[in-house]
């Protein structure tokens, strides 16, 4: 496995001998998935043997599995052999040359979201060499983290520089055999984030993918691993409210969180991948496995998500509450407009004593959107004194959309206290008229009512993210009334 960067060319050439056609300009592997492809990915990334072995086991398992069809989603068949599973970080020449070449509609959206000017170019994939402000910000940021002893780097860097941590924790929360998309991700994941917060350290700042250099090139199979050691605390922000240029239709990410004794992890997501156009053409398939384990006593994991993008969302950020007195939380806003479909929710698995979980899920359906909440609360016999509170509310706009709720409960301990509340409402005409008769425009009134509906979730988001999330909802709902 000893390899150097110069091996890359040789490797590519070698693969060519085996029948691969390589487009030298874009460094993209030809479509198709087999063991050779996995070996190439692992070698390009100069991974240790254990990583390759793990990827191969995942691939072999994946090959025995079938595409899941239990979700309330209509998904056109995906040809996994037509996808290319590795693409080198793109040369700076294939994007638009300047903002003038970017779709004016996209620019208008950035304007409405209040994205800073220097940001717009990066998000739109403009090939510019100028050093953005964010780079210098990122540098000071890295120094500060290093002083605290926090490791925050790309997953590839972590595999090379902290193989012991990777070997110990990778797949320990989401095993490669967990589900179809997790297995696929485990075999071919391209890159992602790695965070380790040492014992007793309170991470001095919110960690955000935005600040991780090269975050834009993590690709379609992203993998994130966050470990909070005993007594530590970290808050992680993923995603961006601004729509990102992306050519990959299938996204299958895996996120694993591990909280040891007295540790807490707060994970916030704003997902705004391309949802397809208003006729349901195109759009990202977002099939994500996110799970955290409260491994130690008194630990806490909190998921907050605002899902407005993607044509199809399949996602259940979950908590395994192993440690006694551990706490799991899930706060979600999911929006399905036009022809979007979302099947999202959570699983709370209570194992330890006196474990507690809270679920607050808000689904908004508009246009012909279909929004499904799917949640499991499982209380094992060992979970003496466990508690769960679930609230899931649906808001419907118009009469062509749908809201569906599938709450599952498996209670194996008689001391458990489990509460479930659910409501479904329409944006009432009288609410709209009341607001309008006070001078508020119809569109602003809709936004106001929707934001009121989502308020309890938004207040879980870090401050600046909450404001962005509100703007995002407004933009995502544009034209859904009237």
């Amino acid at each position: 496995m000893a390899s150097t960067p110069t091996d890359l060319d040789a490797l590519v050439a070698q693969k060519y001998q085996h029948g691969f056609v390589t487009d030298v300009e874009s460094d993209t592997l030809p479509p198709g998935l087999d063991e050779d492809v996995v070996r190439v990915i692992s070698r390009i990334k100069r991974e240790p043997q254990f990583m390759l072995d793990w990827r191969l086991r995942a691939l072999r398992h994946w090959q025995t599995m079938a595409n899941p069809d239990w979700a309330h989603l209509r998904i056109a068949p995906i040809d996994y052999q037509s996808i290319s599973y590795y693409s080198a970080p793109r040369a700076k020449t294939d994007g638009p040359k300047s903002l003038d070449e970017v779709d004016p509609k996209l620019l208008a959206t950035y304007e409405k979201l209040g994205v800073p000017l220097h940001e717009r170019a990066r998000l739109a994939g403009v090939a510019v060499d100028a050093v953005f402000d964010s780079v210098s910000v990122a540098t000071t940021f890295k120094e500060k983290l290093a002083r605290a002893g926090v490791i925050f780097c790309s997953f590839s860097d972590a595999v090379r520089n902290h193989p012991d941590l990777i070997e110990q924790y990778l797949g320990s929360v989401v095993p490669y055999a967990d589900n179809y998309f997790a297995a696929l991700n485990s075999a071919v994941f391209s890159d992602g984030s790695f965070v380790y917060v040492p014992q007793g350290v309170r991470c001095p700042m919110e960690l955000s993918t935005y600040f991780r250099i090269n975050a834009a090139n993590t690709g379609q199979f992203e993998r994130t691993l966050i470990i909070a050691d005993e007594g530590s605390h970290v808050s992680y922000l993923e995603g961006c409210t601004a729509p990102m240029r992306d050519e990959n239709q299938l996204h299958a990410a895996v996120v694993e969180l591990v909280a040891l004794r007295d540790a807490s992890i707060k994970y916030s997501t704003v997902q705004n991948w391309y949802p397809g156009d208003e006729n349901g053409v195109g759009g990202i398939y977002n099939f994500v496995t996110k799970r955290g384990e409260c491994r130690g006593a008194n630990s806490r994991i909190s998921w907050t998500q605002v899902e407005t993008g993607s044509a199809i969302t399949w996602k259940y950020p979950s908590c395994v509450l192993s440690g006694d007195n551990s706490v799991g939380e899930f706060y979600s806003v999911a929006l399905a407009n036009h022809y979007q479909q979302a099947d999202t929710g959570t699983k709370m698995i209570h194992i330890g004593r006196n474990t507690r979980s809270t679920i607050v899920a808000k689904g908004i359906s508009a246009g012909r959107g279909q929004n499904t909440y799917r949640g499991l609360v499982k209380i094992l016999p060992s979970a003496e004194g466990a508690r769960n509170f679930t609230q899931c509310d649906s808001l419907l706009m118009g009469d062509k959309c749908g809201a569906h709720t599938f709450p599952y409960m498996e209670i194996k301990n008689p001391t458990a206290v489990v509460e479930h509340e659910a409501t479904t409402s329409k944006i009432a005409d009288d609410q709209l008229f009341y607001s309008r008769s006070r001078g508020v425009s119809e569109e602003d009134a809709v936004n106001m009512i929707v934001n009121g509906f989502c308020k309890v979730v938004f207040k879980e988001l870090p401050m600046e993210f909450a404001v962005e999330a509100q703007n995002l909802l407004a933009v995502s709902l544009e034209g859904s009334v009237g």
């Binding site: 009432a428 609410q431 008229f433 009341y434 309008r436 008769s437 001078g439 425009s441």
Partner: protein, 251 residues
């Protein structure tokens, strides 16, 4: 200010207004009384622009403009205010937020600068004292969990903040006990001015004890049958509505 001519309106095929005529000038206070189902609330709804009503004939002009052609928010921005009979709850949206958005929409229309949060709070505090409302109400959801009296006081507070030119009060007195009625009336009276017209819709004379009207109209079966001064209200209180109908049909 408001000029209604031969106004006909219906919901579906049910005809409700059958030729209403009404002239309202700045500074005047009008009371529209009448039995249940006479079309009082429909008149208020049509003037404010609620959906579901079809105007089949007639006109309503406000400050010279065709009121019925304007969107509801446009009417509000130009100074028309409807105090709802049943104020609507909007969970999660706090009162202060709606009120500030409303005020700034109106100010923008009037060519005034929009107020920031501090200026807005300063302005609203005095008005809240007048309506005997606790400040905690500002952070509560719009009408969310309010008692009947609180909802009505909130309507008048909104009116006090928005300072409309034409205020339509739709049964603002219904469901109020005598103390709450006094507070609401004090609020409305404080807003009487030579530039502002107020049209009150009510079943009962008792509101008029507190807010003295210049004109009293009897609306029955979609038409205004009789117009008089405040003594007409007292007469109605004593004799009911039937004699008005009888006299009208005899004439």
């Amino acid at each position: 200010m408001l000029s209604i001519r031969d106004l006909h309106a219906q919901i579906g095929v049910r005809k409700i207004l059958k030729g209403v005529n009404l002239e309202v000038k700045p500074g005047e206070v009008h009371a529209i009384m009448g039995p249940n189902g006479s079309g009082k609330s429909t008149l208020a709804s049509v003037l404010a622009g609620r959906a579901g009503y079809e105007v089949t004939k007639g006109t309503a002009h406000y400050l010279g403009d065709d009121l019925l052609a304007l969107e509801p928010e446009e009417r509000a921005r130009r100074g028309v205010f409807l105090a709802f009979q049943y104020p609507v709850e909007i969970p999660g949206v706090n009162n202060a937020y709606l009120l500030k958005a409303a005020l700034n929409a109106v100010r923008k229309q009037r060519g005034l600068q929009e107020l920031d949060a501090f200026e807005f709070l300063a302005l609203i505090k005095d008005k809240m004292k007048l309506m005997q409302m606790d400040e905690s109400f500002l952070s509560r959801g719009v009408n969310e969990g309010f008692s009947g009296g609180e909802k009505k006081r909130n309507e008048i507070l909104q009116m006090a903040v928005l300072e409309p030119k034409l205020a339509l009060l739709d049964e603002t007195d219904s469901g109020l006990d005598i103390d709450a009625l006094r507070v609401v009336a004090t609020g409305v009276n404080s807003l009487r001015s030579p530039e502002r017209a107020i049209v009150m819709i009510t079943h009962y004379q008792r509101l008029l004890d507190y807010i003295e009207p210049d004109f009293v109209h009897v609306l029955s079966d979609g038409r205004i049958l009789r117009t008089g001064d405040k003594s007409l209200a007292l007469e109605l209180e004593k004799r009911g509505y039937d004699w008005v109908k009888q006299e009208a049909s005899a004439a």
